[in-house]
């Protein structure tokens, strides 16, 4: 058996489960931010790796296929009054997500000013913009599925296009959906004064904001690599 561990001041540390809890809750701090914020950042870091894996695997299948890659500009184009506008819906979705990031940033600021009403309504606006984004994505998916795009093949080119598209945008859409629910829960608690009673200082609004901005951030990369490349 190893020698019993002692602290810097010479106190004996407990073994087993109690020792585990003591170690994990030791009075040492690396990140001088509220713990929820540090944990959200670390979660977002892990999420960064998940989305990176998707985008890198997309790069890999696109580079290694011998079939021509479907031209996203045409595949995601929309016909407006008989004229084909490239990537129209995607552009609208991009601007909606940016706008929602803006309203979220304002909500965080209003939270720190303890303006409950404005925080609540700005968060609801953010969630509504997020929900409309998911709605447009559902429309996009429906359109592509009706035109014959499947995870295992499509009429416009390389078969890997469908699996990359559904995987990447599906996972992102899932994040947006989760974000909308998260925002509505937090917004409701802001409205009812839940955080005020707990004396939480509305840090939770900033933490929810971090998640929301991250969803926007991921879209910036998807937009560049999947839709524009």
């Amino acid at each position: 058996m190893s020698e019993a561990a002692v602290t810097d001041s010479g106190e004996l540390l407990a073994e087993g489960g109690k020792g585990f809890v003591q170690d994990c809750s030791a009075d040492r701090q690396a990140f001088h931010v509220p713990w929820g914020k540090a944990m959200m950042w670390i979660f977002l870091l892990s999420d960064t790796f998940i989305f990176s894996c998707f985008l890198v695997s997309y790069m890999k299948v696109r580079m290694s296929t011998t079939d021509p890659w479907p031209y996203p500009s045409e595949v995601f184009g929309l016909d407006v009054a008989g004229v084909s506008v490239p990537l129209l819906l995607i552009a609208i979705m991009t601007f909606i997500l940016i706008t929602s990031s803006g309203t979220m940033a304002l909500a965080v600021n209003m939270g720190y000013r303890k303006d409950k009403k404005k925080t609540f309504w700005l968060m609801v606006a953010t969630a509504a913009l997020g929900a409309s984004f998911v709605g447009m994505q559902a429309f996009e998916w429906t359109k592509l599925i009706m035109e014959g795009v499947r995870p295992w093949g499509n009429p416009f080119g390389a078969a890997q296009f469908g699996s990359s598209f559904f995987m990447i945008t599906g996972f992102h859409g899932m994040h947006v959906t989760a974000g909308v629910i998260y925002l509505l829960v937090v917004a409701n608690r802001v409205r009812t004064g839940f955080y005020e009673r707990r004396g939480d200082n509305y840090e939770i609004v900033e933490i929810a904001g971090l998640y929301w901005h991250f969803v926007d951030l991921v879209w910036v990369f998807i937009f560049a690599f999947f839709y524009l490349w």
Binding site: L45, M59, D67, I98, P155, F221
Partner: protein, 115 residues
């Protein structure tokens, strides 16, 4: 603490960031009208990085955090470059092997029609 941190930002910086993101996204969208090539790819990546850093440093307040948190969150993603490099080598190998064994693609893609 975070409470004062949030108040250091006057609202104007968010409006500017918002407008900047709109303009940059507009430019991004405009690259779609260019011919594929190194100029277009460089522009896509540059605009993407500008938008990403704006979101991270202004909207997510990473600019105001202490260095310990900045490094812990921003350095690990850099290692993704290694994964990209490895997978690019692998993809080249797969592509050449496919050409070798199956020959050039004979697929004729359908034209895209939106109804």
């Amino acid at each position: 603490m975070a409470a004062e941190e949030g108040q250091q930002h006057p609202l104007t910086i968010y409006w500017y960031m918002w407008i900047a993101l709109f303009v940059l996204s507009g430019f991004s969208y405009a690259t779609d009208f260019m011919d594929p090539g190194y100029l277009r790819w460089t522009l896509i990546v540059t605009l993407m990085m500008l938008k990403a850093s704006g979101i991270i440093f202004i909207f997510m307040h990473m600019g105001c955090e202490r260095r310990a948190l900045k490094l812990a969150i921003l350095v690990p993603p850099v290692f993704i470059c290694v994964l990209i490099w490895l997978m690019a080598i692998e993809a080249d190998h797969t592509y050449l092997t496919r050409i070798e064994f199956f020959g050039e693609s004979t697929m004729v893609p359908e034209a895209v029609h939106h109804d």
